[in-house]
């Protein structure tokens, strides 16, 4: 099986460690993952803001970059959802059905680990108090269910505590965070409050964009709570930290 990493533009440019974590984790599990260098972005920022014409060339690049791979793994529920559910819209706009070719091949990281590789214990070690925020697109667009939690529960040393009102949106919402910044921050403030209530040292989620928003608020509040991508927790093993 030829497996490609869709690192996502946000991780590529802002959170490269998460990409490296996925590579390390998958290699540890015996998957020879490749990074198609021609990839850029899934096009979601354009599609979700209404710029379909602008999304067409981006998605065309995407489709070409991932042509020939059997599976595409990505550490982002939101980007996986975009590829799976929105590339069809862009394909219709661009009048080219090949633009949606990747839709059926993409897996969010927890889906790939649990459903494709069939593992829940990935051999990780993380001796910290952790709470988990299920991001909206992984929860309601992809329906990953409790897969991320099953992976986290198998991590050695972890003290996993439940997040109150966990399935409520953090308020990031892509360009929503800028176009409706007051409402976005009001939602994020409540999410940050719930995180603090748990007494967790680390907030974990499957999307760095949501974590950038919640983490940005937690940092502004000097809460001391660190945000980490699920991949970064799962990649760590004993002796490394």
């Amino acid at each position: 099986m030829k497996v490609a990493l869709l690192v996502t533009c946000v991780n590529d440019a802002l959170f490269p460690e998460t990409g490296k974590s996925v590579v390390r984790l998958l290699r540890r599990l015996g998957v020879d993952v490749d990074f198609p260098d021609a990839q850029t972005c899934c096009g979601q920022p354009m599609v979700n803001t209404g710029y379909l014409d602008e999304a067409v060339p981006v998605v065309r690049t995407f489709a070409k970059a991932f042509d020939g791979y059997d599976a595409i793994v990505t550490p982002s529920g939101s980007c996986a959802g975009s590829v799976r559910h929105q590339h069809g819209i862009v394909a219709r706009r661009g009048n080219d059905e090949r633009l949606a070719a990747a839709s059926s091949k993409v897996f969010e990281l927890s889906e790939f680990l649990v459903d494709v590789l069939g593992v829940e214990d990935v051999g990780a070690y993380f001796p910290h108090r952790v709470t988990y925020h299920p991001t909206c697109h992984s929860l309601r667009m992809l329906r990953v269910g409790d897969r991320p939690l099953r992976l986290l529960r198998a991590v050695r040393g972890i003290d996993l505590v439940e997040l109150p009102a966990a399935d409520e949106c953090c308020g990031f919402g892509g360009t929503f965070a800028l176009k409706n910044t007051d409402t976005s921050v009001a939602m994020g403030a409540d999410k940050a409050r719930h995180v603090r209530e748990t007494g967790a040292e680390v907030l974990v989620a499957g999307d760095n964009s949501c974590l950038m928003h919640i983490g940005g608020l937690l940092s502004r509040q000097r809460s001391g709570v660190k945000v980490m991508h699920l991949a970064d927790v799962l990649a760590g093993t004993e002796g490394e930290r």
């Binding site: 690192v7 990409g19 850029t40 209404g50 602008e54 909206c136 009001a186 940092s219 660190k226």
Partner: protein, 480 residues
């Protein structure tokens, strides 16, 4: 349909977010109703099948709407009802006003109805010297308070009982000055006030939750019994019904009368379901009119993706689960249809590109998808929101693009080739030493940026760009 002079959503929301009482009232009310809904929906093992059935009945009906509407008109006419067709709000209001005037009526009682709110009937009647009395308790609170509805089902959701007491004391004639803010006492005071109206009014105005084509039956679903009074006591009954309310047969009601109460009030069954099929000699209103209202519905029907919004049965489940609505309240949407459904229904009925307020509504969502999960007729609201956003963008395309369009074009150009993205990342790496704040874990963060970055950093720290992108690391370390 929309409140005059409302600013676009972001500005209206900003004001609402600063209203402490509103935030508290809404958080409490929506949390209560969410929990009730979740409990009664969980009791129904075939809930997903019911949702699919509801959606299918509506879709099939909408596909042949013309046929079903003509059938409805024939059934109603056969049962002694006068049917009127109204293209828009003005025509509908004109019909109702003419009926009132032809009978010399200067006072009508009203059953809670979204269609009449949509067309601004009360104001239109007032301009013709006819006073319309809202008889639903929450609508009465809104009307007496000279306020606007902020929720489809509970229009005074933004008010708490202390505020309602104040409104009754200052605006409802003959209210006992000793009135407390106990809900039962407040309801009793309203009941005394309304009873006089029910007994004196000669004409009532209602909407309808459903209109059954083959039997000519109108259905009103309510909780307080005020609707039943309006539908039975006066001599003349006028019902304003959106054309999407038609269902083909009586049997179709089975599905909706299960979906609606559980989704809206969180009840297994609503307290009062009134059905009537035309005039019954010697019993109830002896003159009946039905105004079939378009007012943008055929425009919505023409939109292949947006037309699913016409399935809506006005239950409000999407409002109650919406994290945006919970914090901003309904007024911020500037329409009698607020919340997620309002964010799609208003632009669909009015068309995008007419005013900035309507065009701002499809963006009033983080696309979290909670509304779709709660919708009893499976309206994929996030899908329609994204679709309408593309309409807003397309209608604004022109020779002189605005800042956002320029930014999107630039992003599109950069992201169309990985080489261009690589250069952009190399430029951003220059700023990797930016920011003196350290995030937990030690990474640098930026705390203040000029506009438009300030839209982020006014409230949130931003991680400084890394010295090396993932792409660069892969090329250096992993490519072999």
């Amino acid at each position: 349909m929309t409140f005059l002079g409302m600013p676009p959503f972001p500005q209206a929301a900003r004001e609402a977010l600063g209203d402490t009482q509103l935030r508290r009232n809404l958080a409490h009310a929506t949390a209560t109703i969410r929990a009730k809904r979740a409990a009664v929906v969980a009791e129904v093992p075939e809930w997903e099948e019911l949702r699919r059935a509801g959606a299918a009945i509506k879709d099939n009906t909408l596909r042949q709407l013309d046929r079903h509407l003509l059938r409805l008109e024939r059934s109603l006419t056969d049962h002694g009802v006068t049917v009127h067709w109204a293209r828009d709000a003005a025509e509908a209001c004109d019909v109702v006003g003419r009926i009132a005037r032809s009978h010399g009526v200067d006072e009508v009682v009203k059953v809670k109805s979204m269609a009449t709110q949509e067309i601004g009937l009360n104001e239109a009647l007032a301009a013709q010297g006819v006073t319309a009395w809202e008889t639903d308790l929450a609508e009465l609170v809104v009307q007496l308070g000279d306020d606007l509805p902020s929720h489809i089902l509970v229009p005074a959701i933004h008010r708490n009982r202390a505020e309602i007491r104040e409104i009754f004391l200052s605006k409802m004639e003959g209210t006992d000055p000793e009135l407390s803010d106990e809900p039962a006492e407040l309801a009793a005071a309203a009941r005394r006030h309304l009873r006089q109206k029910f007994l004196s009014a000669r004409m009532a105005v209602s909407g309808a939750n459903f209109a059954v084509a083959d039997t000519g039956t109108l259905v009103v679903v309510e909780s307080e019994g005020n609707g039943r009074m309006c539908l039975t006591l006066p001599e003349i009954l006028v019902s304003v019904v959106g054309i999407e309310k038609v269902v083909p047969t009586w049997a179709d009601l089975d599905v909706f009368l299960q979906l609606l109460p559980r989704s809206s009030t969180g009840e297994r069954m609503n307290p009062y379901t009134s059905t009537w099929s035309g005039v019954t000699p010697g019993d109830g209103p002896q003159e009946m009119h039905v105004v079939l209202l378009d007012n943008g519905r055929t425009r919505a029907l023409a939109d292949e993706i947006g037309r699913q919004a016409l399935r809506c049965i006005r239950c409000s489940a999407c409002l109650n689960v919406c994290p945006v609505y919970e914090r901003t309240g309904g007024h911020a949407y500037g329409s009698v249809y607020p919340g997620p459904i309002g964010a799609i229904l208003n632009p669909l009925l009015k068309g995008v590109g007419t005013d900035a307020q309507t065009d701002s509504l499809p963006y009033a969502s983080s696309l979290c998808g909670a509304c779709f999960d709660a919708c009893p007729v499976r309206i994929d609201i996030p899908e329609v929101l994204v679709h309408l956003r593309s309409q807003v963008v397309d209608v604004r395309r022109g020779p002189r693009p605005h800042a956002e369009a320029v930014a999107m074009k630039a992003a599109s150009w950069t992201l169309a080739r990985s080489g261009r993205l690589r250069i952009a990342e190399r430029v951003s790496a220059v700023f990797s030493r930016l920011g003196r704040r350290r995030l937990p874990g030690g990474r640098r963060a930026v705390t203040r940026l000029p506009w438009p970055g300030s839209l982020w950093t006014d409230a949130r720290d931003l991680p400084a760009p890394p010295a090396e992108s993932f792409r660069k690391w892969w090329r250096r370390d992993e490519r072999s």
